[in-house]
C-alpha cells in the first residue's frame, strides 16, 4: 500500500518517538543537589481530599528544617543546609512509592517521610530490596513496624495504646452500650475493630456499626440519629477533626448527653475552632499540643502562627513531624553521614538524646524500639470533663 521510500512524514513520527526517549532521559538526568545540601524527602497528599492533612505534615517538617538551618547543621566537620523536597501522591500507595524512589535516587534524599499506611507499605517493598532510604513513617498503624523493615522509623504512638485507657476511663460509671460512628477509612476501620474488641472484653455491648465515609457523606444527621436510636452510653467516632466536630455537634443537637471516645485522628484543638467547645465536653482523645509544657512548645506555636497561619492551631501532625525531622538530622550528625540510611537509622538511639531542647514540643521520644518505633514513655491522653476542663491520664505503651 505504501511506496518504498521514506517519506517526510516519517520524520514526524520518528520525532514523537524520539520525544518519548527524550522525556525518559530528561527525567533521568535531572535532580541531584549541591554537595552542601541535605535533602529530606516528603511524599504526601498535597492535592485531593486529604490535602489539608498532607499540608500539615509538610508544614511541620519545613518549620523544623528552617529552625535547623538557623542553628547550622554540621556533619562530619562540614556545614550543610537542609532542604525539604515534597512530591504529591494524592494518598495513593503506588504514587507514594514512585515518589519515594524518585526522591531517593534523583534528589539523593536519604530520608523520605510518608504520612499514610498504604504508601508506607508500598515504599517498604522498595527500601527493603531496591533503593535504600530511611522511611519516616507517620502512621499510628502498628503493622508498619510489624513487618520487620529495618529502615522504618514510625513516628506517632501506635493507636493500639489508646484503646485500653480510653475504654477504661469511659466505663467507670458502668456505661455499657457503645455506639460506632467512626470514619470508613482504613484507619477508621482498624480503630473500630480495636475499640469493639476492647469494649466487648469488658462485657460491654457494642451496637450496630454506623461507620460512614466522612469525606463523601453530604448530611451527617442521618447516621447520627441512627446511632442515637439505640441509646448508646458512649459513642466512638473520629476522622478528620472538622467533620468530627460537625458530627459531635449534630449528636448534641439531637439531645445526646453521653460521652465521646475519639480516635486519634481528631484533635480537640481543631474541633474547638469548628464547634462550640461545650459540645466537646465529656470526651476522651489525644492531648492538644498547646497543653504540653515542653521546652520548645511555645516557640513552635509562635513560629507556626508567624510562618504558616494564625487561623489554624498547631496539631500533633505538625508537632510530631517537627520533632522527627530534628531527630533525623541529629542522627545524620551522630552517624557522620548524610547519605547512608542504615548508618542514620543505627544512630537514632544516640541521636534522640542529642536533639536540642527547642525541638521538644509534644512528648519528645525517649527511645526508639528495635522495630523502629519512636516512643515517649510519658505519653498522655486528654479527657475533657463535663465542665470543659482537660484532665490528663497516662498511657501504657504495649511492648514491641
Amino acid at each position: 500500500m505504501a511506496p518504498m521510500r521514506i517519506r517526510p512524514g516519517a520524520t514526524v513520527t520518528a520525532a514523537v518517538c524520539a520525544g518519548v526517549l527524550l522525556a525518559t532521559s530528561a527525567c533521568g538526568g535531572g535532580g541531584g543537589s549541591g554537595s552542601d545540601t541535605i535533602v529530606i524527602g516528603y511524599s504526601g497528599p498535597l492535592s485531593g481530599g486529604a490535602a489539608a492533612y498532607g499540608k500539615n505534615i509538610q508544614d511541620g517538617l519545613q518549620l523544623a528544617i528552617d529552625e535547623l538551618n538557623n542553628q547550622g547543621v554540621t556533619v562530619d566537620g562540614e556545614q550543610y543546609r537542609v532542604e525539604l523536597r515534597s512530591l504529591d501522591d494524592q494518598y495513593a500507595p503506588d504514587a507514594a512509592a514512585t515518589n519515594a524512589q524518585r526522591l531517593a535516587e534523583q534528589d539523593d534524599a536519604a530520608v523520605v517521610f510518608i504520612p499514610h499506611a498504604g504508601g508506607i507499605q508500598a515504599a517498604q517493598e522498595l527500601n527493603s530490596s531496591r533503593t535504600e532510604f530511611l522511611l519516616g513513617a507517620y502512621s499510628s498503624d502498628p503493622k508498619i513496624v510489624e513487618q520487620g523493615n529495618e529502615l522504618t522509623m514510625m513516628i506517632p504512638p501506635s493507636f493500639e495504646s489508646y484503646a485500653e485507657p480510653f475504654v477504661d476511663k469511659l466505663t467507670r460509671n458502668g456505661e455499657s452500650r457503645l455506639g460506632l460512628l467512626g470514619t470508613a477509612s482504613e484507619y477508621g476501620q482498624e480503630w473500630t475493630k480495636l475499640v469493639t474488641q476492647e469494649w466487648k472484653s469488658r462485657g460491654g455491648q457494642v451496637l450496630s456499626d454506623n461507620s460512614i465515609d466522612y469525606g463523601t457523606v453530604s448530611d451527617f444527621a442521618g447516621p447520627v440519629s441512627r446511632t442515637l436510636a439505640e441509646n448508646p452510653d458512649v459513642i466512638f467516632l473520629g476522622g478528620p477533626s472538622q467533620p468530627t466536630a460537625v458530627i459531635i455537634e449534630e449528636a448534641r443537637r439531637q439531645g445526646y448527653e453521653g460521652s465521646f471516645l475519639l480516635m486519634d485522628q481528631a484533635k480537640f484543638e481543631e474541633m474547638e475552632e469548628f464547634t462550640d467547645p461545650k459540645n466537646l465536653n465529656d470526651a476522651i482523645g489525644v492531648k492538644p499540643v498547646r497543653n504540653y509544657d515542653d521546652p520548645g512548645t511555645e516557640d513552635l506555636l509562635d513560629a507556626y502562627a508567624e510562618k504558616v497561619t494564625k487561623k489554624r492551631p498547631v496539631t500533633s501532625e505538625v508537632a510530631l513531624n517537627y520533632q522527627s525531622a530534628a531527630i533525623v538530622v541529629a542522627a545524620m550528625e551522630q552517624a557522620g553521614s548524610i547519605d547512608d540510611p542504615t548508618a542514620i537509622r543505627e544512630a537514632i538511639p544516640d541521636a534522640i538524646g542529642e536533639v536540642g531542647e527547642q525541638f521538644h514540643v509534644s512528648g519528645f521520644p525517649t527511645e526508639i524500639t528495635d522495630a523502629g518505633h519512636l516512643r515517649n514513655q510519658d505519653l498522655e491522653a486528654a479527657y475533657r470533663t463535663p465542665d470543659g476542663e482537660y484532665e490528663y491520664l497516662p498511657i501504657e505503651q504495649p511492648d514491641e
Binding site: S47, A184, D209, I212, G215, T216, V217, S218, S225, P243
Partner: protein, 288 residues
Amino acid sequence: MTLFIQQLFDGLALGGVYCLAAIGLTLIFGVLRIPNLAHGTLYMLGAYVTYFFLVTVGVPYVAAIGLAAVVLAVIGVLLERVVFHPLRNAPHTHHMIAAVGAMFFFQAVAQAIWGADFRRMDSPISGSVTILGAQISWQRIVIVVTAVIVLGLLTWFIKRSIHGQTIEAIEQDRTGSSLVGISPSRVSMLTFGLAAALATVAAGLVAPINLLAPTMGDALSLKVFAIIILGGLGSLPGAIVGGFTLALAEVMTSTYVSAAAGEGIAFAVIVLVLAIRPTGLFARAVQR
C-alpha cells in the same frame, strides 16, 4: 417511628439538594448531549463563592447565594464557550476527558484560593422544630421549601418564557429549532449558565449542614448521574422524581441495611435500571 420520621425529613432535604444539582445536569444533557462530569466541581465552586460572599464580604445569606449563583452562571457560560463549544461535534469520550481536565483545574483553583482544609459556613437559620418526636432543623426545612420554589420557577421559566422555551425546543428538535431561528449556541450558553446557578443554590443550601472542601463535589457528581439515569436523561420531571427517590433510598438503606449499602445504592440503582430498561426509566425518544 421517631427514627423513621427523622430519616424521612433528612431524606427529603437531601432530595431537594440532589434535585437542584441533577436538573442542571439533565438540562445540559438534553440540550448538548454532554455527560458533564465537571458538574460536581461547579457545585463545589458554588459553595465556595457563596462562602466568599457570606463570610469574607459579609452580605446576608440569601443575597450571598444569589450573588454566587450569578458568578457561577458566568463561569458556566465560560466553561461552555471555552471547553464544550469547541467540542460540540466531538464524541462523548472527548467531552468526558475535557470535563475531567476542567475538574482538575477547578479543584486546584479552589485549593489555591481557599486552601485544602475544611471550611465551615454558618447560616443564620438555626434551631430546630419537633415533628412527631423527631428533631428537624430549620435549615433542612428551608432546603426543602427552597428546592420546591426554585423548581416551580424553573418549570415556569422553561414552559412559559421565551428563553426557556428555546431550551425545550432545542432538546426536542435541534435542526427544526435552528430553522425557526433559535441559536443552538445561545441556548447552550443559557443552559450551562442555568445549570451552574442551580448547582450553586443547592450548594449554598447544603453547605451549612456540611463542610466545604475542594473535593466536596466528587461524591455528588456520580450520584446525580444515577438520578438522571433513573429519571431518564434530559427529562426535567424525571430528575425531580429521581432526586427524591434516590435520596430517600439512600437514607433508608443506610438506616435499615448498612452504611456501606447506602453508599452503594446509587450505583446499584443505575445498574438495575439500565439492566431492565437500557435507556432509563421514563426515557423519551432520543434524538441523534
